[in-house]
Symmetry: D2
Subunit: 333 residues, 4 copies
């Protein structure tokens, strides 16, 4: 970490600051120029509060030279991680198609969709049981009953299952769940992350609505620092001023996260765009950009006129998408 001091800083002020930094077990290398003084901070700078340091009166600017994340950092773990659930693998060349309905609604529905997506080539079944909703009056999901039905669908098809957790108190219900999803709104629910770090379950961690890629990696670090290294990162769109799409899918997140971290990266084009017609092109784009998996919504009722518009694909559309995705993955390598 580099701290540049303002011109006019007195030797006493500099000494004061250096003392304070040394108390944090840092070595401080001072380089005095004609107009400015540069401090090089050496040691474990991940503990330094960069916002506090930057805001000091005598400090002109501060720059991290090393990233503040360690266990998630590719520099320290050059080999890409692989997450294995059942027969599916994600990362380091292994690719997973994750598909299923937005919400689990009934046994019939989830078994039907699970069977259909398995036939169409899905590797993992998704389905919401606990649903984070902006309004307290909206349907909040089938909760524990929804998880039970997912487990039924897993038994029926052999597909590993993924579903979202919203409250650490419900962790026991996730015993037979293969991947626990942390939603965008909980990406910085640090207590939840730490508790999940004490389990050995694979965690799919979604990027928050307005979080930087570095913040996403720091949240992964929260989980990993407690011992759980089975993390899948997920890009699902960020909030911008554009209103035509629900969110703006940031596909550059894929190569950037691969450069910074060894963790696999999955993309969710369904929630990002909010429109079924945009899901296939964005899924293909994600595959071309090097994603390790794609998570899409597939619904179960191709006869229903109503369902033929939201962010969900029909099983047939999903099967067609899946075939293209595999070709593009090959071509992009």
């Amino acid at each position: 970490m580099i701290a540049v001091l303002k011109s006019g800083t007195t030797p006493e002020q500099t000494a004061h600051l250096v003392d304070w930094l040394k108390h944090m077990d840092l070595d401080v290398h001072i380089s005095e120029g004609q107009e400015i003084t540069i401090l090089g901070l050496i040691g474990d700078t991940s503990k330094v509060d960069i916002e506090l340091l930057s805001s000091l009166e005598i400090v002109e600017t501060v720059k991290r030279v090393s990233e503040p994340f360690k266990q998630a950092n590719r520099k320290f773990n050059p080999n890409s991680s692989v997450i294995t659930v059942g027969n599916a693998k994600i990362g380091n060349g292994h690719f997973a198609m994750i598909a299923g309905p937005c919400s689990v609604e009934s046994e019939e529905q989830i078994i039907q969709v699970a069977t259909a997506v398995k036939e169409a080539g899905a590797d993992i079944l998704r389905g919401g049981a606990f649903k984070p909703r902006t309004s307290p009056y909206a349907f909040q999901g089938m909760k524990d009953k929804g998880i039970q039905l997912l487990v039924e669908a897993k038994k029926a098809t052999g597909l590993p299952i993924i579903t979202e957790i919203m409250n650490i108190k419900t962790l026991d219900l996730f015993e037979d769940v293969d991947i626990i999803q942390v939603g965008a709104r909980n990406m910085q629910n640090f207590d939840l992350l730490q508790e999940l770090g004490k389990t050995h379950k694979p965690i799919l961690l979604k990027r928050g609505l307005a979080n930087t890629l570095q913040e996403l990696l720091m949240s992964a670090e929260y989980i990993m620092s407690e011992g759980n290294e089975n993390i899948i990162l997920c890009e699902r769109g960020i909030r911008t001023y554009e209103t035509y799409t629900r969110n703006t899918l940031d596909l550059s997140a894929i190569p950037v996260l691969h450069e910074l971290s060894h963790l696999p990266v999955v993309v969710d084009p369904s929630h990002a765009t909010g429109k079924a017609a945009l899901v296939p092109p964005m899924a293909l784009a994600a595959a071309a950009a090097g994603a390790d998996g794609i998570m899409v919504e597939v619904h179960n009722n191709p006869a229903c006129a109503l369902c033929d518009g939201p962010q969900s694909l029909t099983p047939d559309q999903f099967a067609k998408l899946n075939r293209k995705v595999q070709v593009i993955r090959e071509a992009a390598q």
Copy 2:
């Protein structure tokens, strides 16, 4: 709620949609024009998933006519709410200055600051015990010990205290805390909000980094729908592309929230700007725009060169600010 159907929608599709809407206990008023058909949905539309409805193939656009929040809505509760804690009142013409250190660090520190801000005119003492930090390696606060020290400072000065909760499991520790703060990162931690709704403690709810004002009110609604109506809303800056300030303080939130809701609105210029020099002008601006309170960081060590820069004011600066705030509040009415 108004739903406009696309031209080319068949009568069967329209009938299908109307059926589905009626199953949600809504009355549907159909108005057919030459090119488009408009559905007026009457009844409790707060349960309708506007994103789902909008994304249907046959739906051109959907508009809410009534806001989806009820208990927080000024239309249904025209009188401004007042929150009372100890001798302090917030809302409906009552104004509170909330001041204190960023973090509780020691008994000596918190007692000193508490005494100093009380003398300078503060109504409520703030101080962080549980600290949400981007990095798992950063100082996470004194936790339960920090709350004990705040309670000591309350006994010593008589000031009511406010501090942040991060995990509902720690609720018991907040028994002697007067106002529980929900931080920006937890604004949509819906399970936490619902649990706080079952208490009777005043809650200061901070706007999330990238949340709209309507989402803030929906999160207030989560708490209120469980029975706790003692909510204070807090604007603390939103995330934009501008990097000079830590966040962009959105002061138009004050009159907008007052128009939409009866709940009091407090502004935190310290976290929003991240720089002590910007705190006084933004605090004065908040008072001029009609805020019901201001929350600022004040530190305890005016001798320390290092402290003379971050987002904290000295007690003297705070006293001077407080005097101006009171004059401007009067003038703005």
Copy 3:
């Protein structure tokens, strides 16, 4: 266009508003419900100022049902446009690779790069002569001399050329330029757009830093409304809070623009990301998402250590990228 009036609007106020709307040559269809009144505005609503109408005291909300752009609108021109320059075609299944240096620097440089990118498969040569720079003290390009050198490179290789215009006064200099580029900062320089509409040159119109896709189409409409229909739209990244990439490339713009408009869509991953390593994955993703062309920076000095990092690719990297792009385009269809 639909306008919903507030409950409590008097019949006089409604009559007032209807009169005003009829003066704009609109038919107004009034539908009165129990609580609200809906006005359906029929006719040429592109002249209606939606912000003004929305802000009227008695108006609850306004929604456009038809898009405000006409000549750029696919509804009125269902067949995809094709832009032809020399041997290159863009749009409706035709794809163009546009490549060249950021700035024209010398005759030797531009001839070298032009020859190299032609061999590597480029269809069109790009190069900056007039450079928009944030600082008045930075290099502003070789200007007219730069254009002359581009024309030399065109003669030497047969490649059509594209370069940016910043001021309509310089239009004469663009006589031998095949495509005139309007940069992101001038996307809403309406006088420039109108003047370019009076020419017959193909125009590549870049999306502004913080402009919506609808605003981009309205700017295309400015050019088309003056008679020039040869427009190529270009996504080049938007400004968000993320700082790791220079801008956030919004690839969902491709399918959205194709849905709304018949105009071809090109993507510039070099300026969007600002990093050479991110250009190939984002170019492949753009091809997979259905782009009609890709514009990338290629430099001429593979021996130079310094050049080996910026947003430019070497000719070899470009050739490799080009081969993959062609395969992915096929697979994505």
Copy 4:
């Protein structure tokens, strides 16, 4: 300027880079640490392309220590500037109320409004003659005729006038205009800025929709570098994800711009919020935060029900606002 080189950079690469930097007439001070090498660049770094330098393969990070603007910089011009037009002064303790209609519509209208706002305490008359509109089909203003009517209103009332320029070709029409406004969409129309720099007219430069404060100052620098130092900066709201207000008014711009620059800062709450009810609280907040002037829309037809909602105030509302603004300005000092 500080450039930090990556660990693993070879001595040849470093020498290469240092050579290149020295060719830009910079002194380079090399400080080699154990892991990283820091280059201190001394001299006129305003010419250095920071994006290019940052993107080099061997460069870890670059930081400006000095701001890239000079003539607009308070460091080099510590005394606050004062802009004088007629009897009005702006800056360094002088405050101006700028008021008038959104668009000039007729002689009767502009004379009426001008007379009314003068009585109510306005110092300068505003009114749009050339109107930048998103749609080519919308009313584009009365153009030259509008300017003539503004000049009539100036003669009738003695108020100096301000109106927007969109095209440098129309400069002759602005001979009797006292302040030329550059709109948000033209903030980075660098050719227009340079041409205006060759005049001696006061220029009111509005911040672009998504431009940083540093970019605003760099655009002021474009004008000043040509010789015109009569610049007034204007904050008018930035584009964010919030949709309740038209834009998000960034009032922290006031103290930040005052800290960085000696130029006066004016705030336009009418365009920022888009709603008349939000104009008074935001105008008072701007005054409390230290603005040097406020520009608001005032309309002329208090009898017209239609006008009673948009972003315009009635003359009476403006008079009342003006009185409060003056008291708050005093109190905030």
